[in-house]
Amino acid sequence: MKDTLRWAYALNQWNFRLDVFVRHSDQLRALKTLSACGFDHVELPAGTGRWDNLARPEVILLNHGDHAGFLDFLRRGSVRGVSSVYWDPGQPVEEEGWAFRSTANRHDHDAIVESAKPFVEFCAGVGAEQLVVRPVGSAWMSPPPDAHGLRTVGELWNRVGELAAAVGVGLALHYDCLGAVHTEAELVGLLEATDPALVGLALDTAEFTIGGIDPVAFYQRHAGRVTHVHLKDTRYADTGQEYRMPGAETTMLRGGAGRRIERWFFELGTEGGLVDVKAFVAALRSRAYPGWVVVESDHGGNPAELAMLNSWYLQYELSVAKS
């Protein structure tokens, strides 16, 4: 995509189960799909184990030798680079002995900072600008953080931000609709608990909308803190505090309970979409937003079909030249 904004695409949708997106030939087909749709940078998800060879830094390097080897692999699919890497330190991984850690627990901070290092080093090695992180765990597992709790979380991310900044990588906290930091006030509180020079915000338009925060208005008020964007749509807002349901990852986001909405995330231009995508992108343009805009399908259907539809929206509704 050739534009004043920099566009990338998130690869997370292809890897829907640990053993389905492992062969390099399958991965190359996904990269070629994105290239044919006009995207030449990708965001990688974090993962764990030998099969997450597009996700876990050590495993990526085991597959491709070194950072240059990995970039060569991407370029075989005409993808030029990595915009960013997404990582949730609360997600237990094999490489950390399946340890369950919480950013709200100060006793876990040293371990989390240590576990951030492979990601920071990988981002620096492949030229990814942002390490995008889940700042807090799910709301149903913990009470809303008070000011003290926000300061505790903020201290952790300042440390990781410092680590990342030392090698030229940005750190962006990704708000999601299930997180313990849920309201706009809580989110602003978290940002205020962090050093703007070290920690930015990853604004995900669908997650914000589901969580009841207007992404356009928020961006207008806090543009200086937004260093990363995930662009996707939703047809629903969480109007009944469904994010507090036990196991909200499945009870809410997969329709296991509550209103039984089985799909929350949609492609740009979806009928009934709640995100004012055009207004949001116009706001990014008006402030000369310098970061990556990562389009994300996020498990909404056939990955290639959704990439094509997102590409169509960029070209025909946002007037982004494909090449």
Binding site: K32, T33, S35, A36, G77, S78, A304, L309, Q315
Partner: protein
């Protein structure tokens, strides 16, 4: 400058609330399908004759569907595919008594797109091999007579009748192809080069294009991994999906094991001065768990990154 006249032949299957279906499932799915192809940069749209009534119903008329295509970056409907793959007592191109019926069918199809600038009326000139064998010169001549007649009629409507040969059809070997063309009028009957079908039948599509350049009005760019070495083409009732030795014949461009030399063909096309459409076709891409969307993207990547270099 890279080749820009790429069209897409409509075989797509997508996921719907009622399971996998063609995009004609409903208007919303059809709209999405057109947008998906548009996003990749296809400018021409080929479809089957039997979809025309559906498109007219869904969009108000076939011209209205074409306007929707144009709103999404397409130039137009480029080709209509018509076929009688299975011989019946009503329709069998090698049986002269069925020609009036086939001619009338073709005329009705052509009239359905009157007023548009569809270029190709693409036909399978024969039915399945096993229903025609022994294939004799006389039978080939009967088929040629039919398509001469249809060709004259379609030209009056601004469309060229162009023959698309299947590996399992009655006209499949190089000798049969040459014989068929020798009995058809070069002013009335044209050649449509399906790269995979010819390759499976043991015919070199590049050489076919070289030899019939003056009569070639289109291509299906698709690949295969297998030459038919077991006379699968004779398998009744259908060699495409029921041949015991081969479960999948067709692949998109750019897969490992592909037998078609697309760069060589592209060089030949460019050197020849051909200025028609090049059509991407994915036939049965869902076999083995594939998806039409991904197959189409991979093929378009191949066009943009491999063939574009050849055609500059």
């Amino acid at each position: 400058m890279a080749w820009s006249k790429w069209s897409y032949m409509d075989h797509w299957v997508t996921e719907t609330p009622q399971g996998p279906q063609p995009p004609s499932f409903n208007r919303a799915h059809m709209d999405r399908y057109v947008k998906q192809l548009s996003a990749l940069g296809f400018r021409g749209f080929d479809t089957f004759f039997f979809y025309l009534p559906m498109l007219a119903g869904m969009y108000g008329s076939v011209p209205a569907f074409e306007r929707f295509l144009q709103d999404n970056g397409f130039d137009k409907i480029t080709g209509i595919f018509s076929a009688y793959p299975y011989a019946t007592r009503y329709t069998a191109p090698h049986v002269r008594e069925t020609h009036d019926r086939i001619f009338a069918d073709c005329e009705a199809t052509v009239r359905a797109v009157d007023g548009l600038s569809v270029e190709n009326f693409i036909v399978m000139p024969s039915t399945t091999y096993f229903q025609v064998e022994p294939v004799t010169e006389e039978k080939i001549k009967v088929m040629a007579d039919l398509w001469n007649r249809v060709g004259r009629m379609t030209l009056e409507h601004g469309m060229k009748t162009t023959c698309h040969f299947e590996f399992w059809g009655a006209i499949r070997t190089r000798e049969q192809l040459d014989l068929f063309f020798s009995h058809t009028d070069p002013e009335l009957v044209f050649f449509f080069c399906d790269t995979a079908q010819h390759t499976i039948a043991g015919v070199d599509p590049v050489q076919m294009f070289r030899d019939y350049r003056d009569r070639c009005t289109g291509f299906h760019f698709k690949d295969t991994h297998t030459v038919d070495e077991h006379e699968a083409y004779r398998t009744p009732p259908d060699p495409e999906l029921m041949a015991p030795e081969v479960t999948r014949w067709f692949y998109e461009m750019g897969t490992d094991g592909g037998l078609v030399d697309f760069p060589a063909l592209m060089r030949e096309i460019v050197a020849s001065g051909y200025d028609g459409w090049l059509t991407v076709e994915h036939d049965k891409a869902e076999l083995g768990g594939g998806s039409y969307a991904e197959a189409t993207c991979v093929a378009k990547w191949y066009i943009d990154n491999v063939l574009a270099e050849v055609s500059r």
